[in-house]
Amino acid sequence: MNKNLYNIEDEKLKNVVDILKQLPQINTPANFEYNLMTKIRNRQFDTHEEKNKSKFFGWILAPAALVISTVVLFFVFSNQNIKNENPLMSEPSLRLDASSNNSDTIEIEKYTEETSSVSSNVAESKDSKSDNQPVSPPKTEKYRIVLNPNDVVLKEKVAEPPYDDKKAVDIDNYIEGAAERKAAPTGATLVGENEQYFDFNGFFVRQKKDSTAVDTLKAKMDSIKNALKSDKTKKLPGK
């Protein structure tokens, strides 16, 4: 049944079949075989398909690489948009904030000076002017007050650094374990300050007000004024 159907259809479409059969034969070019054998001898086996494949990927590769690099650069530079603080413009952090690493404890560094017996003798003889001998610097011991989470306050001694920050340290000798440290050059003393030893480190130390000295000076100045007022005294008070 089906066979007959196809035969009928073939009859109807016979003219199309005849037209197609009359089409001229298309042949390969004259150098077809020569080119083919040359390719085979030279092992040039890249087919038209493979060439087109590489062309296709070549075409798409460049834009794809551009897009990928743009995305990567975008992410890299967007992460760098964090505001960088200018250390010169920002306020310095509190020592408390800088030193506290543990949120549970609060470390308060308090430097206290506790003088030894030698330095206490020096303090007593402050007024004496026979103090031309070099005075050893007062010993300082550092303590740290630690507030624990259980509200227990502890006073811990801070280990002294192996160097004296008021003196220069010969690091080579220190590393080699030299017992004695070279005497640091003593600081310059200001005129009229022989009583107290201190190193000039570029900053003037504010002297505590001596009320008696102030009163004395005031008294002197008052007397001078009075003397000037009264024409009787011609000699200025000397000593």
Binding site: L13, L20, I26, T28, K39, F45
Partner: protein
């Protein structure tokens, strides 16, 4: 040797080529099939240069994969299968290129049937113009129908051989041939009779 081999069927040169790698056996088969393959591929693809490349690629694939041919099948169906697949790949690639192309007015790639008013009846009788018209109409037919129509009506293969080449059943082959011919008839009527 050449005279002996050229008088034989396809299976003997291919066997000789497979066993001893005789290049002369290969050349005999190339000479035998280059023109029929060219005709088939040209009618299918519509471009002579591209068709030449496809036929060359077919021969190269045959050279490289000679051992994949099994003697229980016909050599002609095997080599036509390779050529047909390469031709289909080329058409797929063309479609992709048309989609991706930035130029919408790429007239070279668009095959159009000539305006019917251009062909006067006396000119249509000219065989060169006629075959051009038929070729253009053939390229308008759907690929799946076009392939089987060419294999049947141009290359004169049997339904069984076409089924082997395309990997379809005989019934599908026949129905597709019928549909392809019907569509072609309609296209040619428009050109011839209006």
């Amino acid at each position: 040797m050449n005279k002996i081999l050229s008088g034989l069927t396809d299976e003997d040169p291919i066997k000789e080529f497979q066993d001893t790698n005789t290049i002369e056996a290969y050349e005999i088969l190339v000479k035998r099939y280059k023109d029929p393959l060219m005709n088939f591929v040209y009618r299918f693809v519509g471009d002579k240069d591209v068709s030449t490349d496809i036929v060359q690629d077919t021969m190269i694939k045959f050279y490289l994969n000679k051992d994949s041919y099994k003697s229980f099948a016909k050599f002609s169906t095997w080599i036509y299968t390779i050529a047909g697949n390469l031709a289909k790949n080329e058409l797929k690639r063309r479609k992709r290129r048309v989609i991706l192309s930035l130029h919408s007015d790429d007239e070279d790639k668009v095959i159009q049937v000539a305006d019917k008013s251009f062909f006067a009846p006396d000119r249509v009788a000219d065989s060169g113009i006629k075959s051009e018209i038929i070729q253009k109409a053939l390229l308008k037919v759907k690929e799946v129908y076009r392939e089987v129509v060419i294999l049947r009506d141009v290359q004169e293969f049997s339904y069984e051989e076409i089924a082997e080449i395309t990997g379809l059943s005989i019934g599908t082959v026949k129905s597709r041939i019928n549909r392809g011919r019907t569509h072609l008839q309609k296209l040619l009527k428009k050109i011839y009779y209006e």
